[in-house]
Amino acid sequence: MKWWPIVGITKKLTKNETYDSKIAVEPLKLFKKSFHLYMIDVGNSNQLNFEFYALHTPRYNIHRFGIYFAASPRHADLLVVLGNPTPQMVKPLKETIRQMPEPFGILLINGCDETGVDLENLKLPNVVATMRGCPTASEILAVLLKISGRTD
């Protein structure tokens, strides 16, 4: 059995970038060190799922900012809603929100597809920011950092 090539030691995979966003955000003001997010796909075209998968990659290395993905809404501080909900996903979305422990925030990302129920009409509680269209992983990270109140 060969050893895995230890590329990460010889080559820095995380890009030295600054993340900034002009999107209006209400910081959670709850957490100084870290926060956990749970994402729910409510019927997007799958592009947002891929962008969030890209956020897991070493290029962004989001753990250095104290951002973690939770496996359950009950363990999360922030719920990220991907897309506008299809009629069938409205109920699971509301149930997920009921499972969030107080206090919590919600980040809405509409997606490129203009289908589904308008998220604004659902009057979801504790919405801290809304992103229109299909943002890139960098743009999403910038908003997450703004929500967490981190400036580094």
Partner: protein, 419 residues
């Protein structure tokens, strides 16, 4: 062997317009869809997907449990539900409900102008947006008898191969993650992100959105950009080859994939499966075979039909796609940069069939255009047949922990299946 991919029009039981794939080509023929074993799957594609080759009944009895997996669970973070009928850890039957992601994008395309419909086509599935927009464009071009220049054909093929590369990288990284191969996963995720960056350089979009246009492309990269793309793709392919070779030496990884969710060639074709999952069953079937721009492409197959074969086919396809992109960029450097401009008109009419080999199989569009608008449309997506193949291949000698390896290896998603 003929594979039924869709039923475009029904007059009576014996007079249906059938979308057929045979020997790497798509055509329409008249006949009776009930003669195909996947007829019910296609006619009821907006309902729950069941094994087209098994019986319709749910499994019941002492100790049998319907484990409902999704839409809001840690393992299935997407808008769809898997019903796993389990007895202990054994999976007895699988039903899949993609209707939670039904957005009726295809229905909304009807009555819209060609440009609006092209934009909607890429919303069917964001990670197959080149495939959907290309298949739709080809259908419109056939309907309106529009010629496409060789330069455009090559550029479109490069975009399609870039889409294949990042999708395959995603699938293989997901399989590595499912097997808790954390170092491998991290490296593959890094290459996945690198490919998205290459896409952005090539087209201005990380997912190659808005690149394909009717009769052409919306964005022509400069020679310098093409050279940069070619160099980066070559580098990614070389790095991936090393990782792939290393991964095959890890028994912990390979044992999870070997003999998992096995599918034989006959069943795969009866289900209507296409793409790398079919080629993993040793069927040399690929829509790219008949295209002149792909004359130098090696079509990859494998023999076992299990999750390992599907992963290996995808891995070799990443390397082949990279070679193809490098060769194509060399051709584009000397090719005339000739692009026909599409001029929308209100009197265009005709019927057309368009298809392309997406990363997970055949995407096929049939359009009926009248007065410059889409009057009627039928789209066949590969994920529908991929999910059906999951329901069939999971029911023999598979246990609960095999589930992620089965699902990820088919490279399917609810957005594509539900449209």
């Amino acid at each position: 062997m003929k594979k039924l991919l869709g039923v475009y029009h029904t007059n009576s039981d014996s007079e249906e317009s059938l979308m057929i794939q045979e020997d790497g080509k798509i055509h329409i023929e008249f006949g009776n869809s009930k003669l195909f074993k996947n007829s019910t799957l296609i006619h009821e594609r907006d309902k729950v997907i069941r094994d087209p080759l098994g019986d319709d009944n749910d499994v019941t009895g002492e100790g049998v449990f319907d484990f409902r997996y999704g839409p809001v669970t840690a393992g299935v973070g997407k808008a769809g539900v898997y019903h796993l009928f389990t007895y202990g850890e054994r999976i007895l039957r699988v039903k899949i409900d993609p209707s939670y992601n039904r957005r009726e994008v295809d229905k909304r395309m009807e009555g819209k102008s060609i440009e609006e419909s092209l934009n909607l086509a890429q919303n069917i599935c964001g990670n197959f947006c080149v495939s959907h927009s290309l298949a739709f464009s080809r259908a419109v071009e056939e309907a309106l008898e529009i010629e496409v220049s060789n330069h455009v054909k090559i550029l479109r093929a490069v975009a399609l191969e870039l889409e294949r590369m990042y999708n395959h990288m995603y699938v293989i990284s997901r399989l590595a993650a499912a097997a808790a191969q954390l170092v491998l996963t991290s490296h593959l995720q890094g290459l996945f992100e690198d490919l998205l960056v290459v896409n952005e350089k090539f087209s201005g979009s990380r997912f190659l959105r808005n690149f394909i246009d009717i009769s052409g492309v919306k964005f022509i990269p400069t020679i310098d950009v093409l050279k940069d793309v070619s160099e980066n793709v070559q580098k990614i392919s070389t790095n991936f080859s090393k990782l792939f070779e290393q991964s095959l030496a890890s028994r912990n990884y390979i044992d999870r994939l070997h003999s998992t969710a096995v599918l034989d060639a006959k069943s795969a074709q009866e289900i209507g499966l296409t793409g790398p999952s079919l080629r993993a069953c040793n069927v040399l079937e690929d829509l790219r075979k008949g295209e002149e721009v792909y004359s130098s492409l090696r079509i990859v197959t494998d023999e076992e039909g299990d999750s390992l074969s599907r992963m290996e086919v995808r891995a070799h396809e990443i390397i082949e796609s990279a070679k193809f992109i490098v060769e194509s960029v060399q051709k584009l450097e000397i090719e005339d940069r000739n692009v026909n401009e599409f001029l929308p008109s209100n009197d265009g009419r005709g019927e057309g069939l368009g298809a392309c080999e997406s990363p997970s199989g055949s995407v096929v569009y049939h359009v009926d255009i009248e007065g410059g608008k889409v009057k009627k449309l039928y789209v066949s997506t590969p994920s529908l047949f991929g999910f059906a193949a999951i329901t069939h291949s999971m029911c023999e000698n598979n246990i609960f922990t095999d589930f992620p390896f089965a699902v990820e290896s088919y490279g399917v998603n609810f957005a594509d299946a539900a449209r």
